[in-house]
């Protein structure tokens, strides 16, 4: 009987099968919508890491393949248990249509083992319910909340990576330009025509690590390679290669700057070792050495001194530095010419070795309060108010240059007045004198210049008012 009217009786089973297919597609969509955003985010991470040379090409490729495999497995594992069964789907149809397990029975029984009359009757009964079900209307696809969550979290993760990786990259490379050079060299090595430059960059990175090679030499090497890179860059047609060469060039510029800085520091050290002493005509502990700066221009030294002073201020040190620093600052900040033009007649000249020793000794003994001070006369030419600004201050506020005020020991003061070596008595009897000394070049002294009214120092203005 079943075979006699096959077309009219296949409806209910077909409906269930069609619904199974539709729900399977829904499950697939669900799985994809949940899994695609994290997979895309992971792929983006791989791309970002590759772009910033955290991953090599091979590693990036392998990671991408791994991510894709993971994605496929996750989709499969998530979808597989959720694929609707015929039983479950038939029950859904029964619930929706109000049928009392007609669809379930029809979809799950073995027709061969059932009496034909019963089967026919069941189909007839089920067909009545068939009209009550419309697949698109009754079983529409709805976005799951998990899909929204997945999208939002993946997006957040991608944004986070997008922000963090460049920061981490710049932090890493600013700390170590050699690493950056090596990374660029590694990238360049992948391109045959850039391999020579890559090798040179690699060699440069190795040399940068070598402390025996002087900074100047390193800088010159970097300059040479930079020139080559510029030449190569002009020849390049591909944008990527040009970008890569641009990166290398900027990295080399950074190296040059770094080496220049370290070269300056070395010179300074050498100056300090060689002749950069306290610029003072005041004898140190009676040695009467006249220490003058040697080597280097007075300007550059002044700059570095100013930098140091600024650094000290930044570090929260008092505006009144320790005596040793004062001596150095004074010495370095002073104009060499000026120093030469104003020799201290009281101090016998010494050979350079003595000077060096004297500086060292003086430095070591500074802690005891025996200071060297410049024998310059107190500044008189400039407006007096200027001298009462704090270190680094000017009329306009904090200035680029500063000066320090030191309180000289009385014996030194006595020496400056030509009293010679002080005795114990004279020490006790002498009144303490505070001589402001500045490293700021003072205007020329005009003897008959009209005296101007001295302003109240800034720090006392509030109190006096």
């Amino acid at each position: 009987m079943r075979d006699s009217r096959p077309s009219s009786h296949e409806g209910p089973e077909n409906l269930v099968l069609r619904l199974v297919a539709q729900l399977s597609r829904h499950v697939l969509w669900d799985s994809l919508l949940i899994c695609v955003p994290p997979a895309a985010a992971m792929m983006y991470v791989v791309v970002v890491l590759f772009r910033f040379a955290w991953l090599t090409q091979l590693a990036a490729l392998l990671t991408a393949v791994f991510v894709l495999a993971l994605f496929a497995i996750t989709v499969f594992l998530r979808r597989h248990p959720l694929i609707p069964t015929i039983r479950g789907t038939a029950r859904l149809v029964d619930e929706r249509s109000g049928a009392r397990d007609h669809f379930l029975t029809l979809a799950t029984i073995d027709p061969a083992n059932q009496p034909a009359s019963f089967l026919m009757r069941l189909r007839q009964q089920t067909a009545v319910f068939l009209e009550r079900v419309e697949l698109k209307r009754d079983f529409p696809y709805r976005f799951k909340r998990s899909a929204y969550w997945s999208l939002a979290l993946s997006l957040a993760a991608a944004i986070l990576i997008h922000a963090l990786v460049p920061m981490a990259y710049s932090a890493r490379h600013s700390a170590n330009p050699q690493e950056r050079l090596r990374d660029i060299a590694q990238k360049m090595a992948a391109k045959p025509h850039l391999r020579p430059i890559a090798k040179e960059l690699e060699a440069l990175a190795t040399k940068l690590d070598d402390p025996k090679i002087s900074p100047d030499e390193k800088r010159s090497l970097a300059q040479k390679i930079e020139q080559k890179i510029e030449e190569q860059s002009k020849k390049e047609e591909q944008k990527d290669d040009r970008n890569m060469l641009g990166d290398a060039s900027s990295a080399l510029s950074g190296v040059e700057k770094q080496q220049q800085l370290s070269s300056g520091q070395d010179q300074q050290k050498q100056q300090q070792k060689g002749g950069g002493g306290i610029q003072s005509n005041v004898p140190q502990d009676g040695q009467g050495e006249n220490k003058q700066s040697q080597g280097g221009s007075g300007e550059s030294k002044g700059e570095s001194s100013a930098q140091l002073g600024q650094e000290k201020m930044d570090q929260g040190k008092s505006a009144q530095p320790n005596p040793k620093e004062q001596g150095q600052d004074k010495n370095q900040g002073g104009d060499a010419k000026n120093n030469q033009n104003q020799p201290d007649p009281n101090q016998p000249s010494k050979d350079p070795s003595k000077e060096k020793t004297g500086k060292t000794e003086g430095g070591s003994k500074d802690g005891a309060g025996k200071q060297q001070a410049s024998a310059e006369p107190p500044p008189q030419g400039g407006p007096p108010a200027d001298r009462f600004y704090k270190s680094g201050e000017g009329k306009e506020g904090l200035g680029p240059k500063g000066y320090v005020t030191v309180q000289l020991p009385e014996d030194i003061v006595a020496d400056t007045k030509g009293e010679g070596r002080p005795t114990k008595e004279s020490k006790n009897n002498r009144a303490r004198t505070q001589i402001p000394v500045s490293n700021v070049p003072l205007p020329a002294h005009v003897p008959n210049a009209p005296t101007e009214k001295q302003q109240v120092p800034i720090e006392y203005r509030g109190i006096l008012r």
Binding site: R87, R100, D101, T105, T108, I109, Q114
Partner: protein, 326 residues
Amino acid sequence: MSLEQFQQTFKRLEAEVQKVIVGHDDVIRKILIAFFAGGHVLLEGVPGLGKTLLVKSLSQAFGMSFKRIQFTPDLMPSDIVGTEVLSENSGRREFQFKRGPIFAHVVLADEINRATPKTQSAVLEAMEEKQVTVFGESHILESPFIVLATQNPIELEGTYPLPEAQLDRFFFKLLVAPPAPAELKEILKRTTGTVTGEVSKVLPEDSGQLVGEMQKLLRQVMIAPPIEDYVVRLVHATQSDGANGGRSSVKQYVRFGASPRGAQAIILGAKGNALAENRVHVSYEDVERIVYPALRHRIILNFQAEAENITTDQVIGEVLKHVPKN
């Protein structure tokens, strides 16, 4: 036997019994289902609810032989199954088998729990085997054969509760509830007036073959594999050591769960219910309707359940609530 004939006969039987019995429609239907499923029914209810009348009415509607056995403590097995008696036939003495009341199509075992276990077992053997053995000779019982036993749940003094193994042989255990006020009014109207209802005979004289066909038809009703699985899960869940028996109520109160006979009864009863509702397939609803009478007497509760007045119906309700359909 066609489907329509079955349903027509079934409906007529129901209608005829309902002429006399007010209310208890569910009990009537389930007795008929048990009859066409080839099972026996234990009716439990307080005296005076019309149990005996119900059984009598059914037998009248069936048009079959009916015997009633009032079970008492001094009732002997031979009083039920029959015995060999010495008789003289044309001058020749010989033992002749005298058939007991068990040899009838419909047997009412009234207050079955008042007889001794020995007598009870004689009846229950007949129920299961559909034959009796007396002095080494087996005697086949009538076909169709149905035992409708009754028992009183309140007067337990001087009774012998049926052993679990024997209870298992009843297809259904039906609880006969007191009538609702409207039903009681109708009962009074029917029984205290001059006109009383008469049950007409529905089945023909040689109804044995017809009932056999109806029983065969009932077994042809289709049941989906998921529903069979559900029945299996349900029965398994009633067992305290079963996979789903981990349910606290089952573990706490059940001493013995339902047997495979319980599962058979559920499925056959569900099939009968489906046919009665003009369907050719079993639904989950059929199972849920049948599971109570089919398992009620097959689940043996422990002492704690008795102490806490927990009934088997409550346990079955918990099982139904927790066993998933898919």
